[in-house]
């Protein structure tokens, strides 16, 4: 029974990684850049939702929507101010370092605004937990919502990318930016849209992450950001289903590794599995087979 509990915990944690990784993978697919500040957008989303609930006294849903809106605007602004000028800089490293600068910036603004003290997060999910097998397996409301949200987001994103004009424009930009531009696709607009979607997802991930593990600090987003990056690479960066499966697998491996091997080297195990996967399949699990790159 404890195995099932671990598995459930792993899927729950993995689902959060997956939502972050979806944002990561979309941005990477389009802009071809590692957005190190993505994790910190999660943190901004979590703080915004928390402030809306505790300071402004809003109910959970509008608070989350405001957090999404804030992160969307933040994402677009970051892209326009810090990343766009460097898009033709000649080295992908330039924009990578700028992203790190943005990450420091967000962390330090949060530090000044909210202090280094962790703030306990209010659970935004009012769903009761589910008791299975005479209470031996307890699935909390947050877990259910996280997993469901993950699936819904993945389906919506896939439909969006495949069926809508904007989505197909994304695919085109990701395939070949110059050719897409020649065909009349608004490249800047498409990239902005991608950042908007990725950042809105980050806000959702932030709220869910902090609901499950109820504390938010200026550094809340950093490690999940890195893990989600790993998840995105794991699944094949640029691939939507890859990001989701990669995220969930990562969460499960992390929890099982911690439970059955050693809690101290769990991260080493996660990274070890990543290395093995990449050595066998150098572009990740779904990197090659999946056609639609976003």
């Amino acid at each position: 029974m404890s195995f099932l509990t671990y598995l459930k915990d792993g899927i729950s944690l993995g689902s959060v990684y997956a939502i972050i990784a979806l944002g990561y993978t979309m941005v990477y697919g389009i802009a071809k850049m590692l957005n190190f500040a993505h994790g910190d957008v999660i943190m901004v989303g979590a703080y915004t939702a928390l402030m809306m609930i505790t300071r402004a006294g809003l109910p959970a849903l509008p608070a989350v929507l405001i957090a999404m809106a804030t992160c969307t605007i933040l994402g677009i602004t970051i892209e326009m101010v810090a990343y766009r000028p460097l898009r033709k800089a000649g080295s992908p490293l330039a924009v990578l370092i700028t992203a790190i600068g943005v990450s420091y910036l967000l962390q330090n603004i949060a530090l000044l605004a909210f202090g280094a003290d962790g703030k306990t997060f209010i659970n935004v999910v009012s769903l009761p937990s589910l008791n299975l097998f005479d209470g031996q397996l307890v699935i909390s409301g947050v877990t259910i919502v996280t997993v469901l949200a993950n699936i819904v987001i993945m389906i919506c994103l896939t439909l969006f990318v495949k069926k809508t004009k904007r989505g197909r424009a994304m695919q085109a930009v990701s395939e070949d930016r110059d050719a897409a531009q020649l065909m009349g696709v608004n490249v800047n607009g498409t990239i902005s849209l991608t950042f908007a979607i990725g950042s809105a997802l980050a806000a959702i991930a932030g709220v869910l992450l902090c609901s499950a593990y109820p504390v938010v600090t200026p550094y809340t987003g950093a490690m999940p950001g890195i893990k989600a990056f790993v998840a995105a690479v794991f699944g094949g960066i640029g691939s939507i289903p890859g990001a989701m499966i990669g995220g969930i697998l990562l969460g499960v491996i992390e929890i099982l590794g911690r439970a059955y091997i050693s809690s101290q080297v769990a991260d080493a195990i996660v990274f070890g599995v990543l290395i093995i996967v990449l050595l066998v399949r150098p572009t990740g699990l779904f990197g090659k087979n999946v056609q639609e790159k976003v």
Partner: protein, 362 residues
């Protein structure tokens, strides 16, 4: 034929001159600082910063070899620093007073470099098969794995020899009088503080010598050929993987030396320092100073190590300002728009144009 040989000879002279200028800058820097120290004109803060500056300069040179010359993005250099720091600190603590200070420190440096270099080879063999961002993430992964594993090691030495455990200090089953050296997450404390500014400068000069000679050697040209066009390099019979591995291992060994210098500068050592943030910090030096530009990355390392300390008077706003400065500098140096703007500004200033043109040639 004669003409092309002549060009090559001139090119060689020019690189030689360029290399000498770099050595000269380092030596002048050393002399100036020494004069300031001896005349009591250097604040303790700056004096304390000297060894860390040397550490990061060496790390930056070493990473530039991989990122700039070999063209691979490595995000795990802190892992190699960690290996160098731990192995050498273990050695120095184990030997203790068994050896005089200077030979012990030299041996410690060699041990740190060799161990880090070995890890470089071990990690390089699988990693260098990958490309681009995938390679970056795997090096990051290796760096984190090294940190994670070192964090659970307990190691001690007594009359029966070496004891190793990965659980607790009690499982070492040490004899009374034995010395516990590596204490898991507590790391190593009490390493002799052998690092000095002079030692740091000597090590910088040695690192520079190795890297600059490697770059201008046959191997170096082969490495750069692999970077610029792997397929073309392969087609003319250059064993690409072997040369990339060479650069990676040399770079790892030098990062190990930076780690040795670091661990012999502080009374305490634990793995917290060697996470991906440190790898990224060193990468920032390299990118800001110019990818492949050894001198630039050295200068960037000096400035960015000193800058946050110089900003101490800003207290809590310090890191905020640092982040903004970083972003602005990146935009200013790399954005095509900023570059054209700078070009225009330069044209407006005719007297500077000449100087700049002269510099461009150098």
């Amino acid at each position: 034929m004669d003409k092309s040989l002549e060009i090559i000879r001139r090119m060689k002279n020019r690189t030689l001159k360029n290399h000498l200028i770099t050595y000269l800058i380092v030596i002048v820097f050393y002399v100036v600082i020494q004069v300031l120290i001896n005349t009591g004109n250097l604040s303790s803060l700056l004096t304390g910063l000297l060894v860390p500056i040397c550490v990061y300069v060496i790390a930056a040179i070493s990473l530039n070899l991989v990122v700039g010359i070999s063209g691979e993005l490595s995000l795990g250099h802190a892992g190699f620093m960690c290996i160098g720091a731990y192995t050498s600190a273990f050695f120095s603590n184990a030997v203790g007073d068994g050896l005089p200070e200077i030979p012990r420190f030299i041996l410690a440096i060699l041990i740190g470099a060799v161990c880090a270099g070995l890890f470089g080879v071990l990690i390089g063999i699988p990693v260098l098969r990958l490309k681009g961002d995938y390679l970056a993430i795997v090096t990051l992964a290796f760096g984190e794995i090294i940190k994670n594993l070192v964090n659970v090691v307990y190691m001690g030495i007594d009359s029966n020899g070496l004891h190793i455990s990965t659980t607790t200090a009690m499982d070492l089953h040490m004899e009374p009088g034995g010395k516990q050296i590596i204490k898991g997450a507590l790391g190593i404390s009490g390493t002799p503080r052998n690092s000095s500014f002079t030692a740091g400068i000597i090590l910088i000069l040695i690192t520079l010598f190795i890297v600059q000679n490697l770059i201008s050697s046959r191997s170096g040209r082969a490495i750069m050929a692999c970077r610029d066009n792997r397929i073309a390099a392969e087609s003319i019979g250059i064993p690409v993987t072997r040369f990339k591995l060479l650069a990676f291992a040399v770079s790892a060994a030098m990062a190990g030396v930076a780690g040795v210098l670091y661990s012999h500068n502080l009374a305490t050592l634990n793995t917290k320092k060697f996470d991906y943030n440190t790898s990224i910090l060193v990468l920032v030096f390299v990118v800001l100073g110019g990818i492949g530009n050894i001198r630039g990355s050295m200068i960037a390392a000096v400035i960015l190590t000193a800058l946050p300390e110089m900003l101490r008077f800003l207290s809590n706003y310090r890191m905020l300002i640092y982040a903004i400065v970083l972003i602005v500098m990146m935009l200013f140096n790399w954005a095509p728009a900023a570059r054209t703007w700078r070009e225009r500004m330069r044209e407006k200033l005719p007297f500077k144009k000449k100087a700049a043109a002269g510099k461009e040639e150098a």
